[in-house]
Symmetry: C2
Subunit: 361 residues, 2 copies
C-alpha cells in the first residue's frame, strides 16, 4: 500500500529522527534536507527509505552524529577533509562548501574526503555549485558490488559521478549516474517484483551473464556500464575505478573491496587500509574560463539544440541529463512524495522508538 | 599486405612531413612524437594512418602549422588557450604544460582549449602528468557521429576521456576511452572486413539498432556507451555531453553538431558558434591531497588487488586500464610497428609529393 506525504511532513519527521540519534539542530536539518532531496528527485532508493539504515549505522557505532569535521591538508585549490565518521549528509556539504570557497579564490576547488558515510544522492551536492555560477563535480565510492571486466570478484561499488553545469535561461545540465549498467536501486525494484533483469546488468558467481535479480545473494555481481567487453564494460569498469581512486585513495579513505558497507548488519571488511568511505568534490567557476554571459549564451544554445533534437519515432522528445529528475522534483514538491507501505511501517517503528509523532501526524 | 617499420624510421618520416607543410623544427618533432604514440600504443586508427588527413587539413587551409598559441584568460588554477588553428598535436602539449605548471603552483591546473584540431590519442597528453607525480585528465570533442539516447540526430563526437594516475612500484593506471560503446576505429576495422557489428554499437537513420558497419554512410549513428536506454546509454550520452561542454562550451570552441570534421573533404558546419575544436586538460598534484609516499603505497595496493583478482574461467587475468596499451608499446618499440599496405601506399605518396625519402629508406 502506497501512501503520499507532503515534503514538509517528511522533513520534520526526518529531522527529529536525526536529532534523536544525537545530531545537533543544524546538522539534523541539513541531513533531513539532504536525504529527502533524493525522494523529491525520484531516486527513492536513496531517500527516506534509507533512514532506518542510517539509524542502524549509529546503533552499530559506525556513524558519529557529533562529528568534528576537519580540513586536514590543503593547497590553494585542493584539500582533504576528515569526516570524523560523520553522516555523509553532513560531511558532504562541508566539503562542497570548501571546494566552492577555493574556486572563488583561485578559479577551482577540489576536496577529497575520508572517514565519511553514505551522502545521499550526489546531485544535491554538485547542484550547490550552480547557484554560484560554477560547475559542480561530485563522486563517491561505496561498498563492492561490481566486478571488473573478466573478473568474478566484487571489487568496486556502484560509484556514481555527478556533474552539474549552469546555464542562462535554460534549466541546467545535471548528470548523476552510477557507473554500472543499472543502479542497485533499479535492481532492488526487480527483486521486490520478482522480475527478470535485462541481460548486461548482472553476472552470476562464475561470471556468466544472468537475469536473476537475486543473483547478488549467491555470489553474483552488478556489471560495469557496458555490461560485457564487447559492449564496452571495460569503460564502465575504468569509470568506477577512477571514482574509487579519487574518492578513496586520494583521500586516505578505504577503496576497492575494503569500502565498508552501508547495511550495519554486514560486518566491515578485514584489514581496512583507510578510514570510512571516500568522496570527491570539485567546483570550477565559469568566469575562471570565459566571461559568464558568453558561456551562458553558448550553454543555452547547447541545451536548446539537444532538447529540440529529432526524436526516434515513438519517443516524445530527447532529454538532457537532469530533466526527468527536475520534472519529478516539481511534481513531488507540489503533489507529495509517495512511500511504499513497507517504508511507512519502518518510519512508524522509528517514531515509536524515539517517541516522536509518526510522519503525517 | 602488412609491413613492419621501426619506430625511429616512422618518426623521422613523419617529422619531415610536418616540416614539409610548414611546421618549425620543434613543432614537427612534437607532432611526430604525438602522432606515433598512437601507433606504439596500438591505437592504429589515430596514428600515422591519419598523417595524410593532417596534410589535407593543411591543404584546405584548416590547419595552421605556424600557430601563435596563446593563453587568453587565466586564474591561478584555470585558463583558456587559443590554439590559433594549430595542429592539436602541438596545441595540446602547450596546454597540458600550462595545467601542470598551475598544479605546481596551487595544487591543480585546468585548461580549456579552443581553435584547435585533432590531437592524436588523449593518453599521451594525460600521461605527461605522471612524470610530475600528478594525475592527468584529458578530454576532447570531435565532429558529431553519435546520437543522444532517443534521438535520430548525430549531435556528439566520440568524445574521449582519459585519466592517468601515477603509482609507486606498480605500472600506472591509464584509462583512455571514447564515450561510445565502440570507438569509431573499431567500426572502421569491421567496415574494411565487411563484418557485422555487434548490437548496441550503431543505429540506422530511423534510430533502430543495426549491425551494418556501413550504416553511418546512410544517416545512421554510433551509440553512446550503454547502447540503448535499458543498458544505460543515457549515461554514455551524459559522459559524451560533459566532454563536449568542458572542451567546447567552456573554451569558446565549437560544440555539439557544430564541431568541424577531421576529414578535409567534408565541409565545415554552417553557423559555427565557436572556434575550431575544443579540448580540456587537468593536472592535480598528488601531494596537494596526501603525502606522496602514502598515496603511492595505497595506489600500489589498489593496482595489485585488481591485477591479481580472480578471473572468469577461460580468461587469463584481470587487467587494469592501460595495461593492454603498455604491453603493446613495449612490444612495438622493440619489434616495430606493422602498417597496412594501404597506409604504406599513402605514406609513399606523401614522400613523392614532398620529395622526401619514403619511410624505411
Amino acid at each position: 500500500m502506497e501512501k503520499s506525504f507532503e515534503y514538509e511532513q517528511l522533513w520534520r519527521f526526518t529531522k527529529k529522527v536525526f536529532a534523536s540519534i544525537g545530531s545537533g539542530e543544524e546538522h539534523a536539518a541539513l541531513a533531513a534536507t539532504g536525504l529527502l532531496r533524493a525522494d523529491l528527485r525520484g531516486i527513492d532508493s536513496h531517500g527516506i527509505a534509507r533512514l532506518t539504515g542510517y539509524v542502524r549505522l549509529w546503533d552499530a557505532g559506525r556513524a558519529n552524529t557529533r562529528p568534528d569535521i576537519k580540513l586536514v591538508h590543503e593547497t590553494p585549490s585542493t584539500g582533504v577533509v576528515d569526516g570524523d565518521k560523520g553522516l555523509g549528509l553532513v560531511v558532504a556539504p562541508f566539503a562542497m562548501d570548501l571546494a566552492i570557497g577555493k574556486a572563488k579564490n583561485v578559479g577551482s576547488g577540489w576536496i577529497a574526503v575520508r572517514n565519511s558515510n553514505h551522502f545521499g544522492i550526489a546531485a544535491q551536492h554538485a547542484m550547490k555549485a550552480l547557484d554560484e555560477e560554477m560547475i559542480g563535480i561530485v563522486m563517491t565510492n561505496a561498498s563492492a558490488l561490481v566486478s571488473p571486466t573478466f573478473s568474478i570478484e566484487r571489487l568496486l561499488g556502484t560509484n556514481p559521478i555527478c556533474v552539474a553545469i549552469p546555464a542562462g535561461n535554460e534549466p541546467p545540465f545535471v548528470a548523476d549516474m552510477a557507473t554500472t549498467t543499472a543502479a542497485n536501486g533499479k535492481l532492488e525494484i526487480l527483486q521486490r517484483k520478482n522480475q527478470e533483469a535485462p541481460q548486461g546488468w548482472i553476472q552470476d558467481k562464475e561470471g556468466k551473464i544472468s537475469t536473476n535479480p537475486h543473483e547478488l545473494k549467491s555470489g553474483g555481481a552488478l556489471l560495469p556500464l557496458g555490461g560485457d567487453f564487447e559492449h564496452g564494460s571495460h569503460k564502465g569498469y575504468a569509470l568506477g575505478a577512477i571514482v574509487d581512486i579519487f574518492s578513496g585513495v586520494l583521500s586516505g579513505a578505504n577503496y576497492g573491496p575494503w569500502v565498508p558497507p552501508f547495511p550495519a548488519f554486514i560486518p566491515v571488511p578485514e584489514n581496512m587500509p583507510g578510514k570510512g568511505i571516500g568522496h570527491f568534490f570539485g567546483a570550477m567557476r565559469i568566469d575562471a574560463f570565459r566571461e559568464s554571459y558568453a558561456f551562458k549564451k553558448d550553454m543555452d544554445q547547447w541545451l536548446k539544440r539537444f532538447r529540440n533534437a529529432n526524436p526516434v519515432k515513438g519517443f516524445e522528445k530527447v532529454l538532457v541529463p537532469g530533466d526527468p529528475e527536475r520534472f519529478m522534483e516539481t511534481d513531488r514538491m507540489k503533489n507529495g512524495i509517495p512511500l511504499m507501505g513497507s517504508v511507512v511501517d519502518e518510519l512508524n517503528k522509528l517514531a515509536d522508538r524515539f517517541k516522536i509523532p509518526a510522519p503525517g501526524l
